[in-house]
Symmetry: C2
Subunit: 344 residues, 2 copies
DNA sequence: CGTGCGAGATCCATAAATACA
DNA sequence: ATGTATTTATGGATCTCGCAC
């Protein structure tokens, strides 16, 4: 005895279609048979087979999410994505590319085969030929985190300019003037925007931008460490009272450098990290940090995708690609303090 | 032009089944038609529709994972689960119950409807009536983290006895004798085992167990804080040179208490936390901690499940439920130091 | 003419049985 | 008897069409 429509139909001597209509409240069914069907369904512990539904409806109610690494910041995005999806009747297939473009490509294909209704992707690749296939199948795709600037696509990205701007603002409020920046390789757009935000904010406050205080960690493996090291070693010639770091990895290694040189924040200088969440407040001193609102990013992406799915269904208007910006927030900790003369 | 078997079959004037056999290397197909089919498939960008495959094969190659909270320790389990699943050709549907038994129940039902081939669950509920439905459908289920002791089931759990034992061992090696323990409510089996492990380890080392130094954080909202507080305030009457905390949440709040009382480890006493990973080594001083090997737990669970799936397929032996224990590890940090007289 | 219901097609792929050389 | 291909049934649900009363 299978618990499918057929089982119920046979028990009640009805046709499968009638049972289906009774359960879905679609089409015409008499009140009496409806009740009988309902009862039998309860008895059989019937639940619709989603696989069969998906095949028929050409809709799986599943969305794929591919991230380079489950954990840290991405956990937040995953969490936000999942809860927003589930609130709208969708499930999430999660995949971890381990920062490997080949694995990522396999997952992209797998998600396609799995007939996901939409795909969310933090890519580590620069090959976007596959997007055509998704376009042809009208499966909306949205990018986040690493924005493929070579590609016309939907994306939700951090307002990178603001990310460093709010950090500068905070430091200026505290009286700092000589502010250093450690950013990534500015050939990547994210790093570039964050540097630009820093420069613009400095200008806005009528502060001089000392290019010796801007460290564009290039291709070093541990760019944050060496950048911080350079700043510390040249502090006499190029004094600074505060440092802003513009990515999480750079923040970690910069902190290691500070520690190795026997320095500490905010005593020797103020420090602003990036994406250092510390939600359980275990750090001491706590670290002032710019944060990407991961959950919000997840929610926003799902929102956009569901809109796309709907609009694809009704009129097939070749809509424009949407780029949404999310504002960073700054979490004030103890690593930043009022400017004191001794800092410089 | 759909990219399905039918499209290829029509193009080549073959039947759908022939095309299927050619692509799957099953049954007999002439070398010539095989090549033609392959070529056409490439041209059409054909990939099998997994939904249709699933319906036919009664196997989705998807496994459900439900956790109470995406993040922290669970991220590790999720990561381990995902990579082991994907290495075996399975995908993962991830759900976050937000510690809500009702949401959890809905997800359990949803996973069932989605026809997952197996279910992994860190439950927050004590209602296990649904397991019968899974049993009837021969869908293997495995529990972790919170073990339902009222239920005969598959589970992978931490060797909780060892978790506190290795902490005691470490402290004894450092010369500590008066060791305090903050554990959860011992009415829950996890907390009880961890307390037992502590007591046994103390006895093993011929150390006296001072019951005043064992704080079973009961139903307080912030049990870790108040337990630590009590230990500190009564340090004169009940001296100790080291503290072990047996859950992550308790560790966090215990640390807050230590900080609030102006104390620090390892100066005032040694401290061993629980599940304080700090993989990027940002803590200073770094914290010695017992860790649950989350990734390993994930991998192990998948391993067990795939075995079950296989065995269900071949002989339907009503196999016993398997309970697997995973050994905790201890990460040595700077919060534990050699015993000094001043400690007591 | 409308209400209740059933037959059959469809979604797409797989697999067993059968037909044709 | 042997290799190749087609027919047909199957999985479970949905949906259009049309038949009766």
């Amino acid at each position: 005895m299978g618990n499918n429509l057929k089982a119920i139909a046979e028990e009640l001597n009805l046709s499968i279609s009638t049972v289906s209509r009774a359960l879905n409240n679609t089409g015409r069914v008499s009140e009496e048979t409806r009740r009988m069907v309902m009862d039998s369904a309860r008895k059989h512990n019937y639940t619709p087979n989603r696989v069969a539904q998906s095949l028929r409806k050409k809709r799986t109610n599943m969305v794929g999410l591919i991230v380079p690494d489950i954990g840290d910041y991405f956990s937040q995005v995953i969490k936000g994505t999942e809860s927003e999806l589930s609130a709208n009747g969708y499930s999430m297939i999660l995949a971890d590319s381990h920062e490997d473009p080949i694995k990522e490509a396999n997952y992209i294909k797998l998600m396609y085969q799995s007939q996901v209704d939409a795909l969310i992707l933090a890519t580590v690749s620069d090959d976007f030929r596959w997007t055509k296939i998704y376009q042809d199948s009208r499966i909306p795709v949205i990018f986040f985190d690493n924005e493929p600037d070579s590609l016309q696509c939907n994306k939700v990205v951090l307002n990178n300019i603001k990310a460093t701007e709010i950090a500068v603002d905070h430091l200026v409020r505290l009286g700092h003037k000589d502010i250093a920046l450690i950013c990534g390789n500015v050939k990547e757009s994210t790093a570039k925007f964050r540097r630009d935000g820093f420069v613009e904010a400095m200008k806005k406050h009528n502060l001089e931008v000392n290019s010796n205080l801007i460290k564009e960690g290039l291709y070093y493996l541990d760019a944050g460490y060496s950048s911080m090291e350079e700043l510390i070693l040249n502090k006499n010639e190029n004094p600074f009272s505060a440092v802003i770091v513009s990515t999480y990895m750079l923040s970690c290694s910069a902190i290691h450098a500070i520690r190795d040189y026997g320095l500490s924040y905010p005593k020797d200088f103020s420090f602003i990290g990036f994406d250092i969440e510390d939600s359980d407040r275990l750090f001491s001193p706590s670290i002032t940090s710019v944060l990407q609102p991961g959950k919000q990013i997840g929610k926003l992406m799902v929102h956009r995708l569901l809109q796309s799915i709907e609009s694809y269904d009704s009129l097939s208007s070749d809509e424009e690609f949407s780029v949404s910006f999310v504002n960073p927030v700054i979490k004030i900790g103890e690593s930043t303090a009022l400017f004191k003369k001794e800092n410089n």
